[in-house]
Amino acid sequence: MTNDGDVRKDEGMVRQKALMASHAARLREAHGAGKKVVATFVPGNLTELLLSFDVVPSYPEIHALQAGMRRASDGYIREAERAGHAEDVCSYVKSDVGMALSGAVGEGGDRLPAPDLLLLSFTGCATFFKWFENLRRQHGAPIAMLQVPYQADGAITDEMRGYVVRQLERDVIPALERLTGRRYDEERLREHLRRSREAEDHLVAVLESARARPSPIDAYFGAVYYVGPIFSAFRGTEEAVTYYRELRAEVEERTRLHQGPITPDGPLKSERYRLVAEGTPCWTSFRDMWKMFADEGAVIVASTYSKVGGLYDRGFRHDPDRPLESLAEYCLGCYTNLSLPTRLDLLERYVKEYDADGFVVHSVKSCKAFGAGQVVLLRELERRTGKPGCFLESDLVDSRYFSHAHFRNRLESYLQALAISRRGIA
């Protein structure tokens, strides 16, 4: 069983795949079409700015997760370890390094172009530094650095915003101008941001549809498909506006018909448990993990992973009237840039607002940005909500860390305990 090929999909997922494939084609043809390629990260991405310069964005994280889904990442990781990368290095990095060492063949089977610029937006993940330092060594491409201050005190200050805006003005935009030979076009940027805002409104409606009983979406397994376009090369495009408008209509229809979400084996027959999910997915065993939940009628009604590219559901919108300021706020507000207390508050609100029976914390070996403090989150969230949590462990794209039997044992035990405590006992 593959992770994606054998998964039954709803229309939103099918359209998403087509969109992502179109971007892969654009990437492949970029240099041939005389366009520059800029590598960057999902958290804190500046897609609208890149589009305004007519460059093609490239997302190594997305390449890594795609490699995981098609089960190529294990081989890449081995290559990277043979080249000297340590075991505890993030598996996204090793997959990317190994993929490059193996000929840089991406999703569609074509060679990925070498980046012309590395836009290092540092939002809450220190590994990004070393990753791009490696890529600079590998490709000789320059780095344009955007240092995004961590929201340690749970709020964005004027100083923090100003600091990011100044870097955009002094470092990032000039780097893009040098790269492309074009001037910064603020009007174009505003246009993209206008479209971003519209798409974001639709996305939030989709995410919030999970408040319904039954939820028409799975806000974790399904949502990773839905957020794909907006977290990557499509935010700010007309295609994204269309995509999210259509997705919203599809989801609203399912809500009207009281239909549950799609699962790998078809539409969910019965919603038995509503859960909130904290943590990244496991890409190499994506279908397996999803099925474990779906088989038990467990639906994720809210997740934090679907916010790594922005907390739109808490009110943030890109703002064409404040272009650089709102880009700064976007970067500052990504999930992995939030303090632990803020993450905890968010999770608590999700459990309550989405009427969840409990929550799962999926901790992955690779990711310290997510992982640090997850046990504290678990204990505190249980205390605050009175709802039980389940602690699951695996990894992003290194399948050596996913043990089906142990994973399933923990999840099953948790759901059985939930069921029994709901039923009561003589």
């Binding site: 043990s403 305990a417 003589a426």
Partner: protein, 414 residues
């Protein structure tokens, strides 16, 4: 008599517990887990029901309960004889197919089994597991190879293959024969009556539940399968009614479980990833030191100054052991340090699961190790103060007991 059965299919042993309508334990059975899970669960079930039958007899015999023990011993010996006969038949078949050496081999096999029967004839009433039998047979084969032309490997190899082939055999004897044998013509009437009453009592299984890692392979309906975390929690609570935290250190995993006042799980943490926090660690240490696993605890208890062991990894602990011994540290101090290390990891798991609430019940095979218990008491007192810690030799049955209790609870209308 109404009854409910729980079966815990573990990695090393399979346990069964039979309880009555009030949840009291009537019988327990244990066998070694085989490749054939159906056979293992059938044997465990038969053992539990036989145990119940003998306990019933003991109750009915009132003052003459030594007779029940006698019947049990007789039963066990009959079973053992039957098993050895079966193994001998299989071994002879294997020897017959051995080509030109067949007649020598046959003779060697017959001698081996004669010696094995002699040695096990006076063994106690517990079940004899395959590895113990193999160990005994290997010893005999080694001796035999010194005085005959049959090489050790051939003879021991035949026995091992016979054992493997016998793996799926779930034949058990009905204890009725052994019990009935007490009611001889010269037996007092009270005994005759007790035997009749005992044998007439039906041991019904009104509902059953299965648990353990192999649970999905049990021949049970899906609704009858329960997670071993839940079963363990409920089982420990049943034995020690004020249990709120359970620590279970097994051979291959460690669990820290928090319970509510009903014995239902509120949270748990598993170490199912690292051998250094499980019984496997001690097994490795025993191998490294060339000791029997059962000798480790007593050796550790003899230490006055446990070493601080630094390795986080079972594999690297071996290096550290050798280094320390080479530097002149006492074996008992090093071994004590290793025991302390496994408890330190358990404390970390307990902390992650929510801490240690009063009372803590310590279960799992490792609970039989006195040094582990000692360090657990010390470290719990140090970090959590005055907490009652329950340890019981019966705790290996906690999972099966919990499963039986779930079978009972789910059947009893609320």
């Amino acid at each position: 008599m109404n009854g409910y059965l729980g079966i815990d299919l573990g990695s090393t042993t399979t346990k069964a517990v039979y309880v009555d309508g009030a949840g009291n334990v009537l019988g327990r059975g244990i066998t070694d887990t085989r490749a054939n899970f159906e056979a293992a669960s059938a044997v465990a079930r038969a053992e539990a029901l036989a145990d119940a039958r003998f306990k019933l007899l003991a109750t009915m015999l009132d003052g003459a309960s030594a007779l029940a023990g006698q019947a049990r011993l007789l039963h066990r010996r009959s079973e053992r004889r039957a098993r050895l006969e079966r193994l001998e038949r299989r071994s002879l078949d294997l020897a017959a197919g051995a080509g030109d050496d067949a007649s020598n081999l046959r003779a060697a096999v017959e001698q081996l089994f004669a010696e094995l029967s002699r040695r096990t004839a006076s063994a106690p009433a517990e079940a004899l597991f395959a590895d113990a039998l193999l160990s005994e047979a290997a010893g005999i084969a080694e001796g035999a190879s010194l005085v005959s032309s049959v090489p050790y490997e051939r003879l021991a190899g035949i026995f091992e293959r016979a054992l493997v082939a016998d793996d799926a055999d779930a034949t058990t004897l009905d204890p009725a024969a052994a019990i009935a044998s007490l009611a001889t013509g010269t037996a007092p009437e009270t005994v005759q009556r007790a035997v009749d009453r005992c044998l007439a009592e039906p041991l019904a299984v009104d509902a059953q539940a299965g648990t353990g890692y192999g649970r999905h392979r049990l021949p049970f309906a899906k609704e009858e399968i329960r997670s071993e975390i839940l079963c363990h929690g409920l089982g420990c609570k049943s034995t020690f009614s004020r249990t709120r935290t359970v620590l279970d250190i097994g051979g291959q995993d460690t669990k820290a479980i928090q319970l509510d006042e009903r014995g239902l799980v509120t949270s748990f943490q598993m170490n199912d990833r690292c051998a250094a926090g499980c019984g496997r660690y001690l097994g490795y240490v025993a191998d490294e030191l060339g000791l029997d696993l059962s000798a480790l605890g007593p050796m550790a208890m003899a230490s006055h100054r446990p070493a601080r062991i630094n390795s986080t990894c079972t594999v690297f602990a071996g290096t550290e052991i050798r280094e320390r011994l080479a530097l002149g540290e006492l074996r008992e101090d090093v071994v004590a340090g290793l025991h302390r290390a496994i408890v330190v990891r358990a404390m970390s798991l307990l902390a992650r699961s929510g801490g240690v609430a009063n009372e803590l019940t310590f279960s799992g095979g490792v609970g039989r190790n006195p040094a582990v218990v000692k360090f657990l008491r010390e470290l719990v007192a140090e970090h959590y103060g005055n907490v009652t810690i329950n340890v019981s030799a019966e705790s290996i049955y906690a999972g099966a007991l919990g499963a039986a209790l779930f079978a009972r609870l789910e059947r009893v209308p609320c």
